[in-house]
């Protein structure tokens, strides 16, 4: 699996009388951290890329392909949500198998891939557990295991670790980094912890009031003085 670029060309959308307009480029095989105040449109941006929202204008490219009008399941994208990533009435193995083929029946060969993916996220032997018996961190690991077996070039993470404690959150981010290096996929991660994001991300996408204000390498991004609204967001307004 190799990552693909994500390009939004003058994509606009209105929701509840609020205008969004996005224009950005995320390089293939990198991690981009999406940050910004609440309501800035971070989740909307990911929803657009995943296909849960359709743009009013503009085009969306993943790699060389225009996916603007494709169904979510047809896009080369996997999205991990903040919660409800698993079907609570199905066991861990079945939940992951659905990533390989969305059918009732699973192939015996799939079992091996499921076991491998579970081992990769540190949950070896969890096949027959039910989601209800897992902790929040374990459930998100299962969701990431499913993302692994799906082998889609782009992984979208919408604040997937927001509900976890600092230690767990760091472990999960490191896991994402490891997996990204291994697979070479492109990762977009929405987060509320800019410092943590900077630690694993190659680039930062900063959003404010429904538009992308700045995109740049994470190195030194937060010290830049030329980005409107950034200091305010970081709480460094009155220095």
């Amino acid at each position: 699996m190799i990552g693909k670029t994500v390009d939004l060309n003058a994509v606009t959308l209105s929701r509840d009388d609020f205008e969004f307009s996005f224009d950005t480029h995320v390089a293939a095989g990198t991690i981009a951290a999406v940050i910004g105040p609440s309501g800035a449109g971070k989740s909307t941006l990911l929803d657009l890329i995943a296909g849960f929202e359709t743009p009013r204008e503009g085009r969306l490219f993943i790699g060389e392909t225009d996916v603007t009008n494709d169904d979510p399941s047809d896009r080369p994208v996997t999205m991990v949500f903040q919660e409800n990533n698993l079907f609570s009435h199905l066991d861990v193995a079945t939940n992951i198998c659905l990533g390989i083929r969305p059918r009732i029946t699973a192939d015996p060969a799939d079992r091996a891939r499921v076991a491998e993916a579970l081992e990769r996220v540190g949950l070896a032997g969890f096949e027959s557990r039910m989601p209800g018996s897992l902790s929040g961190g374990e459930r998100q690991r299962v969701a990431i295991a499913r993302a692994l077996v799906r082998r889609r070039p782009v992984l979208l993470l919408d604040e997937p670790f927001a509900a976890l404690g600092p230690r767990l959150r760091r472990d999960m981010l490191l896991l994402v980094r490891e997996l990204q290096v291994e697979t070479g996929m492109t990762v977009l991660i929405v987060t509320h912890q800019p410092d943590e994001a900077a630690a694993i991300a190659d680039s930062i996408v900063f959003l404010d009031k429904g538009r992308i204000v700045a995109t740049g390498p994470s190195e030194g991004f937060f010290r830049r003085g030329d980005i409107e609204g950034l200091a305010d967001y970081l709480g460094q307004g009155e220095k």
Binding site: P72, T78, N84, H89, I104
Partner: protein, 542 residues
């Protein structure tokens, strides 16, 4: 593109159900209207005075029933809210839900056992030296029965409201040492008041459209409501003209009430707070305790006594002989068949409408037609309330009369009427469950590309099974206990349990009636318990 096709298919199916409903209800109304046009000039003074009398009585009994039910419900709800910890409280609150699921004909029988001429109440009065037994038939009986049904309903709704009071307010009240009257004025009344109008509206509507209780407990033309008068006009006096005028009158009345009810803030919702324990600090003086528990005790006795008498009288019935009668078995089979088909029809219609409403949701911000469709689908379920079973039945009766044998197609009509009748309640169960289910799974299934049969088996059935079974049980209980449609269309060939029960009561075979009532009551109660269990545990899961 699959996604877009699915949305279109869902909305199309919803549109089809809406049109079918409009056709069934519309045909009945049009039939009533066209027949009425021919009858308009037949306005003899005698006829007018009869109509006027029946209308007046309908409104009077509904007004008094509402007044009595709510007036007793307020102190009962207060006492129950005050006393949070006594043995049997949760059972008592569950008991408040029983009348909703009890077929009216069964309840009426139980009430007669207690309050009737040979009932316990009169025996006590006669022993105390009264010369003439008090008669249950007439206005007294109707009020008694309506209070039996609506007092617990109102108490439940008001109790839910009282349990919404923030616990700090109770603590403050106890700390300052407010007396009960001040607590009522300052805390309880403001919370109850906002719900009082909708509760009164709902009870009034239920009493205006009540058929079975008035049929059984009303007496003669002096105590007849519009619905019973329609039934009498069609089944006994063979006077379709009169039935049509009455049906239109009832239609106008329910429309007016429905508008009023919407204006008052819609039908009251029962919060999920029932059973939730708040720490209250009620008065500990013997007088306060005695007053509260005295009230709770009397209410419990009033509610339990008819139920016990149904059980006792039913057990004394000669079940061996009763179950040996082929007609009993035919009634049981017919009732169950009609109930199952009506329930499945109702649930399918509801599910189609709910899915269509949901499918149109993302289109609503941009397209006016999607907003209109969602509103129409929501309104359709309440419009069903506008046309009570008897009115709908009367419409189809005059429409089909002369073209086909109306009694031969009775099962079809009864199924349709029962399915429509249950629809608003079924939607109320299914819609929240579906919304939660979609919130949990819609994006996930879309991103994984699970569709069609795979989606049904893997995701939708496991997620919605509980709500589906619950709605089916509820609709079946409603259909099993219904006497409205079958009263118009029943015959020797098509007999349901309530209809057979009515016949046995009419021919004074009290023993048989008691046995059948127990049978019917038990089946409905079991279905309602299933439904209630599902409601509570599915609520706890969220």
């Amino acid at each position: 593109m699959i996604e877009r096709r699915r949305i279109k298919a869902n909305i199309g199916a919803g549109l089809f159900v809406l049109c079918a409903m409009a056709a069934v209800i519309g045909a009945a109304v049009v039939a009533l209207l066209t027949t009425a046009v021919g009858a308009a000039d037949d306005g003899s003074p005698l006829f007018t005075s009869y109509i006027w009398k029946v209308t007046r009585f309908t409104l009077l009994q509904a007004f008094l029933s509402t007044l009595l039910s709510v007036a007793f419900a307020i102190p009962l709800a207060r006492a129950l809210a005050r006393r949070q910890a006594f043995i049997g409280r949760s059972w008592l609150i569950r008991l408040l839900a029983v009348p909703i699921g009890l077929p009216p004909i069964v309840a009426a029988l139980g009430l007669i056992e207690i309050w009737g001429r040979q009932g316990i109440f009169n025996s006590v009065l006669l022993a105390a030296g009264l010369e003439q037994p008090v008669s249950i038939y007439g206005l007294t009986g109707i009020l008694l029965a309506h209070v039996f049904f609506n007092l617990p309903l109102s108490a439940r709704l008001l109790l839910a409201q009282l349990e919404r009071v923030p616990p700090e307010q109770w603590r403050n009240a106890a700390q300052i040492g407010l007396d009960p009257w001040t607590v009522f004025r300052l805390i309880e009344w403001p919370f109850i008041r906002s719900h009082l109008a909708p509760v009164c509206g709902l009870v009034f509507m239920l009493c205006v459209t009540s058929f079975t209780l008035v049929l059984l407990l009303g007496g003669g033309p002096g105590a007849t409501t519009i619905e019973v008068a329609i039934y009498q006009a069609l089944r006994f006096d063979f006077d379709p003209q009169r039935a049509v005028i009455l049906a239109l009158l009832q239609l106008g009345l329910t429309s007016l009430l429905l508008i009023l009810l919407t204006w008052l803030g819609g039908a009251p919702e029962e919060g999920a707070t029932i059973g939730h324990r708040v720490r209250r600090h009620p008065g500990k003086s013997p007088a306060a305790v005695a007053a509260d528990f005295g009230l709770i005790g009397i209410a419990a006795l009033f509610l339990v006594s008819p139920l016990v008498s149904i059980a006792v009288a039913g057990l004394l019935a000669d079940f061996g002989r009763l179950l040996g009668e082929p007609i009993v078995w035919r009634a049981v089979t017919t009732s169950l068949l009609i109930a199952v088909v009506a329930a499945l029809l109702s649930v399918s219609m509801a599910m189609t409408l709910v899915r269509a409403r949901h499918a149109a949701l993302p289109l609503a911000p941009r397209h006016g037609w999607a907003r209109g469709f969602r509103a129409a689908a929501a309104a359709a379920s309440s419009l069903v309330l506008l046309v009570p079973p008897i009115v709908l039945g009367a419409g189809w009766f005059v429409l089909l009369r002369g073209h086909v044998d109306v009694f031969a197609i009775a099962p079809l009509i009864v199924v349709a009427v029962n399915a429509l009748m249950a629809l608003p309640f079924v939607i109320r169960v299914l819609e929240p469950a579906h919304t939660t289910h979609m919130a949990r799974t819609a994006r996930l299934t879309a991103s994984l590309g699970i569709s069609g049969l795979n989606r049904l088996v893997l995701v939708d059935w496991p997620g919605l099974r509980r709500a589906f079974l619950l709605a089916t049980a509820f609709a079946m209980a409603l259909s099993l206990g219904d006497l409205g449609a079958i009263a118009l269309f029943g015959s020797q060939d098509v007999v349901t349990l309530p209809y057979l029960l009515l016949q046995r009561m009419g021919s004074y075979r009290t023993n048989d009636a008691a046995g059948l009532a127990l049978l019917l009551g038990l089946v409905c109660l079991v279905l309602m318990v299933i439904a209630d269990r599902g409601r509570v545990s599915s609520g706890a899961q969220l």
